[in-house]
Symmetry: C4
Subunit: 499 residues, 4 copies
Amino acid sequence: MSVFISGEEVEQHASRDSCWIIVHGKVFDVTDFLDEHPGGSKIILKYAGKDATEAYEPIHPPDAITSNLPTDKHLGAVDPNTITQVVREVTEADSRRAALVASRPPLDEVLNLHDFEAVARVVLPEKAWAYYSSASDDEITIRENRLAYQRVWFRPRVLRNVATVDWSTKILGQKSSLPVYISATALGKLGHPDGELNLTRAAGKHGVIQMIATLASCSFDEMVDAAVPDQQFFLQLYVNRDRDITKRYVQHAEKRGVKALFITVDAPQLGRREKDMRLKLVGDEATSEVQKGQAVPKDQGVARAISAFIDPSLCWEDIPWFQSITKMPIILKGVATAEDAILAYEAGVQGIVLSNHGGRQLDTARSGLEILTEVTAALRARGAFPSPAFDIFVDGGVRRASDVLKALALGAKAVGVGRPFIYAFSAYGQEGVEKAIQIFRDELEMNMRLLGVRTLDELRPEMVDASAIRSHVGSQPDDKLYQNTYQPLALAQFRTAKL
Amino acid sequence: MSVFISGEEVEQHASRDSCWIIVHGKVFDVTDFLDEHPGGSKIILKYAGKDATEAYEPIHPPDAITSNLPTDKHLGAVDPNTITQVVREVTEADSRRAALVASRPPLDEVLNLHDFEAVARVVLPEKAWAYYSSASDDEITIRENRLAYQRVWFRPRVLRNVATVDWSTKILGQKSSLPVYISATALGKLGHPDGELNLTRAAGKHGVIQMIATLASCSFDEMVDAAVPDQQFFLQLYVNRDRDITKRYVQHAEKRGVKALFITVDAPQLGRREKDMRLKLVGDEATSEVQKGQAVPKDQGVARAISAFIDPSLCWEDIPWFQSITKMPIILKGVATAEDAILAYEAGVQGIVLSNHGGRQLDTARSGLEILTEVTAALRARGAFPSPAFDIFVDGGVRRASDVLKALALGAKAVGVGRPFIYAFSAYGQEGVEKAIQIFRDELEMNMRLLGVRTLDELRPEMVDASAIRSHVGSQPDDKLYQNTYQPLALAQFRTAKL
Amino acid sequence: MSVFISGEEVEQHASRDSCWIIVHGKVFDVTDFLDEHPGGSKIILKYAGKDATEAYEPIHPPDAITSNLPTDKHLGAVDPNTITQVVREVTEADSRRAALVASRPPLDEVLNLHDFEAVARVVLPEKAWAYYSSASDDEITIRENRLAYQRVWFRPRVLRNVATVDWSTKILGQKSSLPVYISATALGKLGHPDGELNLTRAAGKHGVIQMIATLASCSFDEMVDAAVPDQQFFLQLYVNRDRDITKRYVQHAEKRGVKALFITVDAPQLGRREKDMRLKLVGDEATSEVQKGQAVPKDQGVARAISAFIDPSLCWEDIPWFQSITKMPIILKGVATAEDAILAYEAGVQGIVLSNHGGRQLDTARSGLEILTEVTAALRARGAFPSPAFDIFVDGGVRRASDVLKALALGAKAVGVGRPFIYAFSAYGQEGVEKAIQIFRDELEMNMRLLGVRTLDELRPEMVDASAIRSHVGSQPDDKLYQNTYQPLALAQFRTAKL
Amino acid sequence: MSVFISGEEVEQHASRDSCWIIVHGKVFDVTDFLDEHPGGSKIILKYAGKDATEAYEPIHPPDAITSNLPTDKHLGAVDPNTITQVVREVTEADSRRAALVASRPPLDEVLNLHDFEAVARVVLPEKAWAYYSSASDDEITIRENRLAYQRVWFRPRVLRNVATVDWSTKILGQKSSLPVYISATALGKLGHPDGELNLTRAAGKHGVIQMIATLASCSFDEMVDAAVPDQQFFLQLYVNRDRDITKRYVQHAEKRGVKALFITVDAPQLGRREKDMRLKLVGDEATSEVQKGQAVPKDQGVARAISAFIDPSLCWEDIPWFQSITKMPIILKGVATAEDAILAYEAGVQGIVLSNHGGRQLDTARSGLEILTEVTAALRARGAFPSPAFDIFVDGGVRRASDVLKALALGAKAVGVGRPFIYAFSAYGQEGVEKAIQIFRDELEMNMRLLGVRTLDELRPEMVDASAIRSHVGSQPDDKLYQNTYQPLALAQFRTAKL
């Protein structure tokens, strides 16, 4: 509608008093928004009067700017011939990273999911690694998530005819080639230019269900548009303070064929993830001024910057409203006690995900696998487990098909896997995700044979010894691969002194 | 009253036979006191005939010399124009320390309480670090204090409206902006020239209660004088062999408005803290003579030197006397068993602190958190818990707001925090203490939301799983930040040999 | 029968279209077999038209080629005068290894079984070490096998006359000088040119029973032919998809005097052993092509290459057939639960080996020692333990005579030891195996005296405290020798970059 | 009686056919004894025709040669003027050791018993350190001995008048200034030229009871002769195959006033101590010949060499004989189960030492402290505990007075301490032992006050929490001092290769 705005005009608005920026070829007046920007005003002012697309893209959902700014601040399209290209310098870090990418192990040397993490840790830009890998506080829960699986031991059966084994299943009525779904994770473009599309394409090719994240770097429609016929999606939802936005989002998803709604209930506020926060702070020149008496800056890492819209008042009383706006099955993601599992069951939702949000929320929260043993016992006591109308999922810490089989033996319908898939595409793009799926398949075939089960239905609680699940003591011997990939938290760094 | 004494005259008394020193502009005859000095005579003789103020100040309460010397040894004021200034050389260690201080991380990079410790460890003079950080024997208890919190896991509730959360409380009837009080710690001037005044000022500004220590470097009145209107204090008491001194001290405190009396009951003698003792000995030339057959020197570290006055005969029979001399609530600090908790309750005091004195007394004593579970069970069995007339506090090992919430869920009214605040002002002065308080606030807000509680009253025992509290096995995964800040004990050092 | 084929003629068939190779002086047409070769076609094509014996020998049983190729592809003997000798270059690795072998500790400095492993790790070619030492997935089970023994503590009796002690026994009716048999292990020529004959000769000399492995490098008859009079063997059996092959193999063994048949039941498919797989991949030039889009190669380590013939459909229904083809006692090797132990007992076999296949199959499977406590309890409850008709064996993780005594005290009849004997001959040939047997003797004498038992019959369950066997927590203090010999798993390696 | 033999004559007998040696100025014909020498013939032949005193002394009790050789082989005294002095070269190792001794920390920097060990480890000759510090097999028990104390936690009482505390006691009717006795240890001259006399002199000075060892380097009479008036001794007895020797030894001791007889019952054969054995072997040129096919040498470390006389047939039936030859109280040292404790009680002896021989015998035997909890329960059930006629002692792993108090609280009458006193005199001679005793005193005073007990009688089981004693899991946080002094076992060493 509007005529083109020239780049020269935009450049006039390069101050705190009048600040325009260009994103995806559109000009926006962000002057009034500067102080509301969850990531702080400083970073916007750096692009005042300029094209900010490249900086904007990896850490914002595509429609973040249009949905946050009033429409009268959408000034129109820029004349592409008139803008000065911001030539991004190739830094030494870029060159070093390129060399590392070139020397990464060939994909067929990746033997397990840990390998993806080991490669991603090296090839990812520091801030991307910090965002993906960080967890809250002392990162005890994220490590417990992994160790919990190793406190459960197998009781395998022998001399069963396991010539053919079948690990396909149905999840919430949808066919899945694996008892694993791709769990929602944010900001995929930090790790790869195609972002979450890597997941969509690999999932479509291999019959795996992807849970689309509210905070994905790719837009919802980009992902759904990339689907092959019969490819299915679930939707992960952070509930907005503005319920109309949420309603539109949910109903749009349902219309586009999404098959289930996973409402995140463990994140009224996003956790303090210190690896992420620390990186944001160190090396940022302006921060030293703070010591001189300024107010504490808002800037607390990517995670908290992008999540300001989440509604901390979300509660049980809101559930009927969700049931009124959609016919999709509703799953509550982040249930952590038997008490809340029972409330969920009584609220008439279709399932729960026992989760601690990948260790990114409340530290020293228990692992999903531990919660599973408590929840199945409590539901069983009420006649609500097993139940065809109420499914239990688990996520967090899964790195082996043997983990998946342990969760299923203990009552889970399927497990969610998040970070390993991000690391896979960060390191190898779509092929990495496909390889990760193939690793699950290979390991499932092997482990089902060794356990003596031909189909997932044959899994039984007595095939595992979970008696130590509550002990929280590292079941030794420990996991050498995990220990070599886990990066310990760092303390505050001295600037120059060699200690 | 007396006329000025000239510096020249003082200088005449520079031997073991007649030894005068100047402290804070006053001249004292310490000849007869030399052999009684808990820190040994050697250190005094170093200042014979000279101004000893700079050495005296950080490790003595201001009135130590006046209250320990008979008044006839108080010779009067020195003529300030006549004393030779002892010019303190700037040593290489001083320069190195100054460089380290200059390069310390900006305060806004401090993300958690561990960071203060990491910075303090580097910028503190070795002896100050040794005094603050040391604990008794094998330092097993000090480490257990931290680990005990990590054996308690959360059972968080979801879908509660946590839009607003409130972590303010009342402690012994006094308003507190946090369920945390600043616990008593000694010798603040070792870490910062303003000593404990850093605590007083920050506490006043942020509505936190400070417990004033008997062995503070700043005098009681200095601290109370620095209070803002409505700022409240508690008093920590080491009971003197001379009960008159104790009586005067307590009644003075009450008159000045102190709101509660915390009597330390776990220190009939101060513990052997070997880090502290070792540092005192190594590098001290004179010690090599000992090997030649001298008597063992009294010199056993700062802690034991300053505590000779404490009465080891203090016992339950003394409690009524305290109740007779003050109307302040009396709290016994250092109770370690259910048996003694019941005795305290029956003695009619107003509360107890479950504590092991920061791991500085009996090694392999249990953590306050562990004792808490035993004490609440025993009191509850007698109908004495919960009780508005008898409060339970816990201290030792608290580094996260999540620790505070665990202690409160298990029945504590508030928790005491000591070392983290010392490290905060040692590293950053008053601003450091303010930042530490702010960290507690941020973490409390976050963690209360994630736990599903809006006020501290909503905390319930079933929100934590404390079933492993007595196991004493490191709840793995462990605390990487803690492990990086904890300094292992060292063994005796060879003088020159490179081993 | 056939006349000699000339080397020149063989050299004409050096392509994928017509591929002949020479093995042990015979010419084979492997053209049609190329794509079926479990180790991939690439490795065969490297020897197309040439003598492949040296490469073939260490990783194939001698009759692998004759039994896998149809007889019309056996083209006849080559004229030995006409073949071009493939001169194997002495590589730098060979020279380095020779130097290491020369500097290995004299045999009398080997004090325990760990020492053999420490030496073997250094002197073995990398691939041999990888094949022998690797276990499945995260190698948790292989380490647990060792640690399980250390969670069982002794309750030794004193003041018993132990002037003479006797550790000889009978195993399945055969005399054995030790309560230990040499368990089946594959591919002995990887470690020493004489392969498993080292075991046979040492076993014969010292009255120990060897279990012959289906996948041995030496042929069954070579080993039996090397026996001394009265030397006894057991046979380990992987069941072939083609039961006729299995039948011939078993009946041949029985005819040659083998005394028991151990059917492996825990390996319907051989485990993923990533150390082995990783080594196969790294450094192999061709693999980099895979990244360019080729199909995933079959090549997954030696273990899986050589085991393609194993029948995954083997089941309980097959047991009567085995009973019909042999009169040898039948033992099921790899039972892992009380449930299956009972099934075995009811199936009328003569015993079971509680085993997890040396940690090489299902990871996080439990140790044989732990299973033993469950199995004896369950059998005892049915009146089936102790029973002269049904023996229980254990293998995995045994490194000390004290381990043997613990297993026997808990109900095992004897224990199987595998890797330590391989490491012994890899490091020192036959003399190494003899030394290993001598170490068992020395330690048995010592430990029986210290336990207060004169014969193995005097061992009692109450001589050990196995109450922690299910805890899976590393019984600390840990095993320093073991920790120094265990090689942690490695992650995928970057090609050139120094990280 | 005999005339002097000239050195020249002795030198004529310097071969295997006729081998004379000089020890302590006497000439012995050892030709027939060469093959019986427990330490092998090689070492004797090295001194054939020469004065062997210096090599003989530290590792033999003074009368070893006279009591082992028939009297007709005692050839008489050598003419001191005629023997060629064997000038011992000062080796580089000697010089290095002298430098280390000179630089050892002054004694007043030794703050705890661990410090002695840290110093001794550096200043002791390698073989002495190996002999003293080594334990059997994987050295699991020796480390468990220490850790067991740390699984017991204190429940200290407060507000008891502890102005004066008293840690003196009576042990088997004898006054002792400490609830600690010096336990028997062998070969004291390896560590210090005065050997066990360092213990005798320090014990006499400080009112501590020394248990004299059968295998001491100093003779029994040397030690008893060095006593001060009223100094008391116990006697440790290895029972000789020749009971007459034992009878004479015991009755001589009783006549000289020894107050109790401790019969070692856990050593029918001395354990394999691999640190000790390894050192004996490495660097010994002749051993390489063994590999060439010789018989295995007898040479298996100092411990086994000196203990060949011990009778492995000693049993319960022998007890009445001991009771018939002495009126001293008889204590069985090395009881390890409740069953044997009851047998001992029924046999009418006066007490038992719960011990695993300092971890030097059966590895994975349990700690004395753990056994104590089992034994007191079993005896109490029979009305035999507490009993004035039957005392229970514990040894192994004690390093702190707090350990002593834990053992006494759980029912021990006193504890034995061995290695720490050896390390003390190895590092500092008699003064070291005195300092060790003083450390016990200081720590006892401190810890009794902090526990709230004034006398040892006030110790109660409920003052400790021993509920984890059987868990065998390292009670974390662990013991940093201990970990820094414990030297891990080493594996066999390559000769030249740098690995």
